[in-house]
């Protein structure tokens, strides 16, 4: 086998220029796939972490009927006995902390103008722990950051909503909503800060107030959900399953079940990556097949000689597959190395990508070094090259000896 491998190696480098051109196609293909795969992995990682730490947490605990029934009144299907539930969930391994949220809606008024809002009652200190990098307070401060602010109800407004109400830090606004028993209630509230969600449509309507203020406004002790934050994203499924097993009256929603934008991006990027992979597969197949066809054409007489001296057709086929394997392995290895170097250069270059559709913020261009992508691309490029050699190799192995010997 080693001798035939050596022969294949010599044949591969018989026409160096052609082999180098084919090799460059493989290197280009491997590099493109690894960079694209690394970029997509970075995007998925960044997007999943910003989704988790910006909004969702790892797991959200709801009343078990929350998704199957409609609420007739606010928080009718909310969670009760929050402190006990929090305490029990904190006993689970990998749980960093839990926090309650109330989702509600209503009207916010500056006296002259009323605007519909989507409100969230939060535990400020824990929200800051969750979204230490994702929450972008543009003006003022976040909720409860100064002790005196705790004496009066505060609100932070998303940028678009603040602009719509011409609200400034320190202004007083009025929140109006329906309480949990169906009555109307209102609350005067001070603007503590203005923030950006990064999503223009959401910036037009969003606001946050303290959880206790929201409970007071809605006249309830319930919350909409409990957000569970873990120390490792990979543990999400295990912890969620454990919570559902221990607490049959709740539903534990995993972050990826709730992250519609993230899932849409994953589907889109996977499609793009698949399409890119297909294009590169076709290029590699055409390039390698063409090289092998040319090689076989040039070596027809030699193939006839090899058959004449007793080489079996199977042996000849295997010899050609060795040649494909050698080109594939060399091309893939050089491609891996090239991709690694390029990814390192790009990661250190500090390039910023423009803001994606639906967002107001750009993000750094980074390429993750994903071992599985490197291995996958190596296998794909090598196997594709071998597969593209099969038809020319079969053709060679089926040559009629006297015709091959007579080939000029």
């Amino acid at each position: 086998m080693i001798k035939f491998m050596k022969l294949a190696m010599k044949n591969v480098f018989r026409n160096r220029r052609r082999t180098i051109i084919t090799g460059l196609v493989l290197v280009f293909g491997a590099t493109a796939l690894i960079l694209a795969g690394g970029f997509i992995a970075f995007t998925f990682r960044g997007l999943s972490e910003s989704t988790i730490h910006g909004r969702l947490g790892h797991i959200q605990i709801y009343n078990k009927d929350f998704f199957s029934k409609d609420e007739e009144k606010p928080l009718e299907l909310g969670l009760e006995n929050i402190q006990e539930l929090k305490h029990n969930i904190m006993t689970q391994s990998n749980v960093r902390f839990t926090m309650a949220r109330i989702e509600f809606m209503g009207l916010i008024s500056n006296g002259d103008k009323s605007v519909a809002f989507l409100g969230r009652g939060v535990e400020p200190e824990k929200e800051l722990k969750l979204s230490d990098f994702a929450l972008d307070v543009e003006q003022g401060k976040f909720l409860g950051e100064t002790p005196e602010n705790k004496l009066e109800a505060e609100v932070i407004l998303a940028m678009g909503l603040a602009k719509s109400l011409k609200a400034k830090i320190g202004d007083y606004l009025t929140l109006m909503t329906t309480t949990s028993n169906g009555a109307l209630n209102a609350m005067d509230i001070k603007v503590a800060g203005i923030y950006s969600t990064g999503i223009p449509e959401y910036d037009e309507r969003a606001l946050m107030i303290d959880l206790s203020a929201a409970q007071q406004l809605l006249y309830t002790s319930k919350v909409t959900k409990l957000v569970v934050v873990l120390d490792e994203t990979d543990k999400t499924e295990a912890v969620a399953a454990s919570i559902e097993k221990l607490f049959p009256d709740v539903r534990a929603k995993r972050w990826f079940d709730l992250a519609t934008f993230y899932n849409a991006v994953v589907r889109l990027y996977n499609s793009i990556f698949g399409f890119l992979g297909f294009i590169i597969f076709v290029i590699v197949v055409l390039s390698s097949s063409n090289t092998m066809m040319m090689s076989i054409f040039e070596r027809t007489k030699e193939i006839g000689t090899q058959l004449a001296v007793g080489t079996s057709r199977a042996r000849l086929l295997i010899n050609f597959l060795y040649e494909g394997l050698i080109i594939g392995v060399l091309g893939a290895l050089i491609g891996l190395l090239t991709a690694f170097v390029l990814a390192t250069i790009i990661n250190n270059a500090g390039v910023t990508m423009p803001a994606p559709p639906g967002s107001t913020r750009g993000y750094p261009l980074l390429i993750d070094h994903v071992f599985a992508v490197y291995i996958g691309v190596f296998i794909l490029i090598t196997m594709t090259t071998v597969v593209s050699t099969v038809i020319p190799a079969l053709k060679a192995s089926r040559l009629i000896i006297v015709d091959a010997l007579g080939h000029i």
């Binding site: 000689t305 001296v309 007793g310 000896i401 006297v402």
Partner: protein, 228 residues
């Protein structure tokens, strides 16, 4: 005792477009062990076709070939490549060496197809290199060798597996007369000393002088096949 190789009523017809071109028209021939025989005839008489059929490189349209008394089957099930490997050796007009391999490796190539150990292969190749007087050139590639040296490598490659018969198609056609004499002397000595059977196709008078038996064919038929 069976002949080494024999052919009975061989017919070979080629298609040239839609036209049938007969190359052999019912030719019968027998070659015995130890012969040094030349198939002679003008161009287009069917020499190479006969050699190809006797060397199992091609199949007849009708008729049969027997090797050591066994009829050759062309049904795709028979391991003809094994017969070619173990019992037949070939020398070609244009040497047909593998250009990326050295003289040593070219001679070794048929042995790689067998189950011989590397030490056995080494021993056999070195013996052949010495016999064909190419020991000093063992690391040279074909393009670094003269025509005569290349043909001697081809002879060594044909003989390294100790075949029953060596078939040589116009072996002196691409070498000068002095080199041709050297090559023919070598083959003749191998025939006399090692009892290797040789079957040539040629119309080179120089080769004919070396032959012990000349088989003349014309238009695909045997004219005569007498001993000299």
């Amino acid at each position: 005792m069976d002949l080494l190789i024999s052919a009975d009523s061989l017919v070979k017809t080629y298609m040239l477009g839609k036209t049938e071109v007969p190359a052999l028209r019912g030719l019968t021939i027998g070659i015995d062990y130890g012969e040094f025989t030349v198939i002679s005839g003008p161009s287009g008489s069917g020499k190479t076709t006969l050699l190809n059929l006797l060397g199992l490189l091609d199949s007849p349209t009708t008729g049969s070939v027997l090797l050591e008394g066994s009829e050759i089957k062309y049904d795709g099930l028979s391991n003809l490549h094994n017969i070619r490997l173990e019992k037949l050796g070939y020398i070609f007009q244009t040497f047909n060496l593998i250009p990326v391999l050295t003289a040593y490796e070219n001679i070794e190539y048929p042995l790689l197809l067998t189950k011989k150990s590397s030490s056995m292969r080494k021993q056999l190749v070195e013996k052949m290199l010495r016999e064909v007087k190419l020991w000093e050139f063992r690391r040279h590639k074909p393009n670094e060798l003269s025509g005569g040296q290349r043909q001697r490598v081809a002879i060594a490659r044909a003989l390294v597996n100790s075949p029953r018969i060596v078939l040589a198609d116009e072996p002196t056609a691409n070498i000068d007369s002095v080199t041709a004499s050297e090559v023919l002397d070598l083959m003749r000595s191998l025939n006399e000393e090692e009892k290797v059977t040789f079957l040539f196709s040629t119309h080179d008078p120089q080769v004919l002088r070396y032959a012990r038996r000349i088989v003349k064919i014309h238009d695909g038929m045997l004219v005569n096949g007498q001993l000299k």
